[in-house]
C-alpha cells in the first residue's frame, strides 16, 4: 500500500517563469518526508507536481521526471486522474465539501467517481477511514450531519479520512496544520506517525519543530532572491538537518539566523 517517489532533474514553471529549478530527490516508501524553507521558495509548488496538481493552475507545467515506483508520472499517455487516485493530497485549509454530510465526505472519492458501493461496504469504509484519521469517536453519532459543522481541526482530519478512503500509495500534505490550534496540530501529528505504517507521507511545513517531530527525512528549499527559482538546498535525515547540516544556508534557517 505504499510506493516510493524518485524525482529526476525536475524544473517547475508557471508559464515562462521558472519557479523551482533542478530538483533531484528520492522519497522512501513508508516514510515521512518534510519540506521546509522560507515562504515563496517553491516547496508547495514542488509538492503539487508530485501528483500533477500543479497543472491545474493555468500555465503550470514541468520538465523532468517524477517516478512512482519507477513509472514516470509525466510520460505522455499517463492520465492525471490515475496519478491522483494513487497520490492523495491534504490542503492547507480544511476543505470538506459543504453540500455533503460527514459520511458522504469520507465516501466522496468513491461516490464522486460514480462507483457502486454496497451499504455495508460503505459503512465499513467510513468507519475504517475515520478511525484511521482519529476522528471516529468524535463524529460517529453524527455521520449524517454536514462536514462544515465540525471544528477546523476535525475538518482537517475529515479531509485526511477522505484522502485515505481512496487508498492511495502516497499522501501529500501542504501545511496541514497551519490553520489549526496546537491541540489539533498535535492530533494531526500523531496521526501522521500512524499513517507512516501504511502510506508514504510527504509534508510541507513552516514549523520546524513539527518537521523535527514527525519526519524521518527533511528537505530544505531556499530561494536566492525575488524572481529567482527555488532550489532544493539539502536533503538528509531529519536529525542531520537539524543538528549537523552540511550547508551553511540550512544551518542559518533551522537555527533562525537567515538573511
Amino acid at each position: 500500500m505504499s510506493k516510493r517517489i524518485d524525482v529526476k532533474d525536475l524544473n517547475v514553471y508557471y508559464s515562462k517563469f521558472l519557479a523551482v529549478e533542478d530538483v533531484n530527490i528520492e522519497i522512501e516508501a513508508k516514510s515521512v518526508t518534510a519540506f521546509i524553507g522560507p515562504s515563496g521558495c517553491g516547496k508547495s509548488t514542488f509538492l503539487r507536481t508530485l501528483n500533477r496538481m500543479h497543472e491545474v493552475i493555468p500555465g503550470g507545467r514541468v520538465e523532468g521526471e517524477v517516478l512512482l515506483d519507477g513509472d514516470n508520472l509525466y510520460e505522455s499517455g499517463v492520465d492525471p486522474v490515475t496519478v491522483r487516485s494513487q497520490i492523495g493530497m491534504v490542503f492547507q485549509r480544511p476543505n470538506p465539501f459543504p453540500t455533503m454530510s460527514i459520511k458522504d465526505n469520507v465516501l466522496a472519492g468513491v461516490k464522486l467517481n460514480g462507483k457502486k458501493i454496497s451499504r455495508s461496504d460503505a459503512d465499513s469504509l467510513v468507519e475504517k477511514s475515520l478511525r484511521g484519521a482519529n476522528l471516529w469517536n468524535e463524529v460517529k453519532d453524527r455521520l449524517d450531519k454536514p462536514g462544515s459543522g465540525l471544528s477546523g481541526g476535525q475538518q482537517q482530519r475529515l479531509c485526511i479520512a477522505r484522502t485515505i478512503a481512496v487508498k492511495p500509495q502516497v499522501i501529500l500534505m501542504d501545511e496541514p496544520c497551519s490553520a489549526l490550534d496546537p491541540i489539533s496540530t498535535l492530533a494531526i501529528e500523531d496521526l501522521i506517525n500512524e499513517l507512516k505504517s501504511e502510506f508514504t507521507v510527504v509534508i510541507v511545513t513552516h514549523n520546524m519543530q513539527q518537521a523535527a517531530r514527525v519526519s524521518d527525512k527533511t528537505a530544505f528549499f531556499n530561494i536566492a532572491g525575488t524572481g529567482k527559482p527555488g532550489k532544493l538546498i539539502e536533503y538528509a535525515e531529519t536529525a542531520t538537518i537539524f543538528s549537523n547540516p552540511a550547508v551553511k544556508a540550512t544551518e542559518d534557517y533551522v537555527s533562525g539566523r537567515f538573511g
Binding site: V56, S85, G88, F97, P98, T99, L112, N113, K145, G149
Partner: protein, 383 residues
C-alpha cells in the same frame, strides 16, 4: 442615547447615597447629545411647517410630503450640526437621504401592489380562473353590464399559454445558459473564445424584446413558412431574452465556488466533468436557481415578442406546436386596447386588472418557489 440617560440616573442616585457633594464629573470623551425626543420633535415641527407651506399653493398630500421631507432633512442636519458637531451633522444628512431614497423607491412598489389588488380582486373568481374568452362577444358584455349580472369570460387560456410558453422557454434556455456558463468558468479560462462569448452575451442582454420576437418569427418563417405562429416560436423568442440572464447569473455563481473544492475533488482522483457536475454545481445550485427564477420573471411579463410570435387566441390551446396562443400580458394588452364590447368597456378593464393580479401572483409564487429550492439545495450549516 439610552445608555447615556441610564448612566446619568445611576450617577445621580449614587450622589444621593454618598453625601459629599462632589460635582458630577463630566465624561471628557462625551460631547453634546440631542435628547431622545429631538428626532420626533423635529419631524412633528417639519410636518406642521410642511402643512403650512403646502396650503399656500393649494393643499395636496404630495406637496405636504415633499415639503415636510425637505424641511425635516434640512432642520435635522442643521440642528445636529449645531448641537453634536459637523461630523454628526453630516451623518444625520446621509442617514436622512438614505431613508428618503428608500421611501421613494417603496412608493411605486406599494402603489402598484395596492392598485392592482384594488382593481383586480373584484374580477378574480372561479369563473374567471377556469374559463377562456371563447364565445364571449360584445353582446355578452353588454348584457352583463345592462342586467348587472356577473362578468363572464376569463383568463384560463392565457394562464395556460403563459405557463406553457414560459416552461418551454425555460426548458430551452436553462441547459443552453448553464452549459455556456460552465464553459466560460471551467473551460474557457478567459481565452479568446470565452471573451467573445462574454461580449456577445452582454450584447444579447441589451436586445430589445421586440427584436427577439422578430428574430424568432423570421427564423420559423424560414423553417416552416411565413405564417408559422405558435407557442414554441414565442418560447424561442423568450429564450433569446432568457439565455443571457441565465448565463450571467450562473457564471457569477460558479465563480464564487472556492477553487479549493475543485482541487479537493481533483486530489481524490475525480474527473473534471464529475467534479463540475457533483461538486461545483451542487455548491452553487441555490444561486443558480434564484438566477433562473429572475430570468423567468423577466420574460413572463413580455408582451411584444408574444404578439409577433404566438399571435392571440381567445380559446384554450395546450399545444405549443400548433395554432395561436394567448398569454396573460397579451390578454391584458388586448382587453385594454380593443375591449370586447366597444360600448361597455368596464368588463374588459375588469378582466385586464384581474389578469394583471394573476401575473403578479404567478411571479411571486415563482420567487417563493425559488427561495424554497435555494433553501433545500443550499450547503448545509450547523452541527
Amino acid at each position: 442615547m439610552s445608555a447615556t440617560t441610564t448612566r446619568k440616573t445611576s450617577n445621580d442616585s449614587r450622589n444621593v447615597q454618598n453625601p459629599p457633594p462632589v460635582a458630577r464629573k463630566r465624561n471628557s470623551l462625551a460631547k453634546g447629545h440631542l435628547p431622545r425626543w429631538a428626532v420626533p420633535g423635529i419631524a412633528a415641527a417639519s410636518l406642521i411647517l410642511g402643512a403650512a407651506a403646502s396650503t399656500l399653493g393649494g393643499f395636496s398630500v404630495a406637496t405636504l410630503a415633499i415639503y415636510t421631507a425637505i424641511i425635516f432633512v434640512i432642520a435635522s442636519t442643521v440642528i445636529t450640526t449645531l448641537v453634536e458637531g459637523p461630523r454628526q451633522g453630516r451623518n444625520a444628512l446621509a442617514t436622512n437621504l438614505v431613508y428618503a431614497a428608500f421611501l421613494l423607491a417603496l412608493i411605486p412598489l406599494a402603489s402598484v401592489l395596492f392598485t392592482v389588488l384594488q382593481k383586480g380582486l373584484p374580477g378574480i373568481n372561479t369563473h374567471f380562473l377556469f374559463h377562456s374568452m371563447n364565445g364571449i362577444t360584445g353582446a355578452v358584455d353588454n348584457a352583463s353590464v345592462e342586467d348587472g349580472t356577473p362578468v363572464l369570460g376569463g383568463a384560463y387560456h392565457a394562464v395556460i399559454g403563459t405557463l406553457l410558453i414560459t416552461l418551454w422557454s425555460t426548458v430551452i434556455s436553462v441547459p443552453v445558459g448553464m452549459l455556456t456558463a460552465i464553459y466560460l468558468v471551467e473551460y474557457g479560462k478567459n481565452g479568446p473564445l470565452a471573451r467573445a462569448i462574454t461580449f456577445f452575451v452582454d450584447v444579447m442582454t441589451g436586445i430589445p424584446s421586440i427584436v427577439a420576437g422578430l428574430f424568432a418569427t423570421a427564423l420559423f418563417a424560414v423553417l416552416m413558412g411565413p405564417t408559422a405562429r405558435m407557442g414554441i416560436v414565442a418560447a424561442v423568442a423568450l429564450s433569446v431574452l432568457m439565455i443571457p440572464t441565465v448565463v450571467r447569473s450562473t457564471e457569477e455563481m460558479l465563480k464564487i465556488v472556492p477553487n479549493e473544492l475543485r482541487e479537493a475533488a481533483y486530489a481524490l482522483g475525480v474527473r473534471k466533468w464529475r467534479t463540475i457536475a457533483k461538486v461545483v454545481i451542487p455548491t452553487a445550485i441555490s444561486g443558480i436557481a434564484s438566477g433562473v427564477t429572475l430570468a423567468i420573471a423577466r420574460v413572463i411579463g413580455e408582451t411584444a415578442p408574444i404578439l409577433v410570435t404566438a399571435g392571440l387566441a381567445n380559446n384554450i390551446n395546450v399545444n405549443v406546436f400548433g395554432n395561436w396562443m394567448a398569454t396573460l400580458p397579451t390578454f391584458i394588452y388586448y382587453q385594454i386596447l380593443t375591449p370586447t364590447s366597444p360600448t361597455n368597456v368596464d368588463p374588459s378593464i375588469q378582466r385586464a386588472w384581474a389578469a394583471a393580479l394573476l401575473l403578479i401572483i404567478m411571479v411571486m409564487v415563482l420567487n417563493l418557489g425559488a427561495r424554497l429550492v435555494a433553501g433545500l439545495f443550499a450547503p448545509k450549516k450547523g452541527r
